[in-house]
Symmetry: C2
């Protein structure tokens, strides 16, 4: 049989602005009697990276632009929230009373540009996504290597709504040390036929697998370590979340909604 184990660290400290998340992970792993190993994949909830990287914004400090005020009026939402979303946005894909779907400045397609209220302290405080989640993952990976001499991969994840299906799942938004895809195209199946389409977004699957232990409420388990996946994924020194981005032109689902 082939197996892997997912390990959620418990009693992770409350992350504050300026904290060293890599150090917190290494120390918290010890507290959990977990020694990081070569080939481990460390999945980190975006929220704690955003907190450490000072990406928490208080609405009282936000001055809405004219454009934000105009859009806010149009859809009946807070101009300050719209302003925050616009600052993170490259292109608005849909704007209505119910949803502000954008291509953000990183290239991620997400609701409200990833702006999120949950598990952020303060009634008017919101978390923005990390400025550069790949960079956050790379930094964390390098720091873990320095602290433990172990070669791990890092995935930063966030919760995503998706078209066509109810509910949300976790997907990756930043990556270091692991290839985002397992590409079967050109390989043979059990009967010798060449596979033409299968190109599996394994980092999204690992992010999804992590959420099962992370939870979304008071669990305080923002870090999940995967052990045993080494032979099932490919390592990569210079891969990026950008590889998951697809232009509207290439997107088979274009005009399907």
């Amino acid at each position: 049989m082939k197996t892997y184990t997912a390990i959620a660290l418990e009693k992770f400290p409350m992350v504050e602005a300026g904290d060293d998340v890599a150090l917190q992970i290494v120390e918290n792993a010890k507290t959990n009697n977990v020694d990081l190993e070569d080939g481990d994949i460390v999945v980190i909830a975006q929220k704690i990276i955003s907190k450490a990287e000072k990406r928490i914004v208080h609405l009282k400090s936000v001055q809405p632009s004219q454009r934000a005020s105009k859009l806010a009026k149009k859809i009946g939402r807070s101009s300050k929230i719209i302003e925050l979303v616009l600052r993170e946005t490259r292109k608005i894909l849909k704007l209505s009373r119910d949803i502000m779907l954008v291509e953000d400045k990183r290239g991620l397609i997400c609701i409200n540009a990833g702006l999120d209220k949950s598990n952020v302290k303060g009634a008017d405080a919101f978390a923005l996504l990390p400025e550069n989640p790949d960079k956050s993952a790379q930094n964390c990976r390098a720091a873990i290597k320095k602290l433990t001499n172990k070669n791990v991969a890092v995935i930063v994840c966030d919760t995503y709504s998706r078209p066509f299906r109810r509910g949300q799942v976790n997907f990756a938004i930043g990556v270091a040390g692991i290839k985002p895809f397992k590409d079967y195209r050109g390989k043979k199946d059990l009967f010798g036929q060449i596979l033409k389409v299968k190109n599996i977004a394994v980092i999204d699957e690992i992010a999804a697998a992590a959420e099962l232990l992370m939870g979304q409420a008071t669990e305080a388990r923002p870090v999940v370590i995967f052990r045993g996946l080494k032979e099932h994924v490919d390592s990569c020194e210079n891969c990026s979340i950008n590889e998951l981005f697809i232009s509207r032109k290439e997107d088979l689902f274009k005009n399907a909604l």
Copy 2:
């Protein structure tokens, strides 16, 4: 710490029409030195269910309808393939040279109504989705209970392309014994704020987590058992994949593609 383990059974037999998949799982688990336990979640690749349930179709036996021939001409594809897709389809969402996206007769939104060539024996043979994947999951769950006296949950999964992101991930298409969602709406976060949106499609996340070991080519690992997730998901006697279906009207992403 909190952990779970994913266990992929190896040397799973080649499934043939009429095979008893539940019995194969129980016997193959023994060969792998795995004893099924209460609370295990057994994830099964759709393909072996389709094979066992005689859902393999040979193109030579397919007589295209007038409609199929007309559509095939329009988009430059095989009329026999279009005929197979139409038979499984409730509504065509997008039809082009590159994609035939449908709401299938079950309510699943999928490309080619789930019709799939990979790992199906015979140059002109295609697998259709199980007629009723919930029923397949229920039957398998009941049979495992009968054979082992263990109360497991069963998820039937398939590989999905998705809008906005490159590549595919595994999602659930049938379910028995587990609630499809973990619903956090109305619960409090770490700072006592009420969560308003978070309703996580855990069966999709478990399906995604299973794919990491299943593979897509010659791995022959169509069954993955999850152990340790019992406290992180809710059991359910009468849940259905239908709960994941979302009407176009409700879909926030409507008109966003």
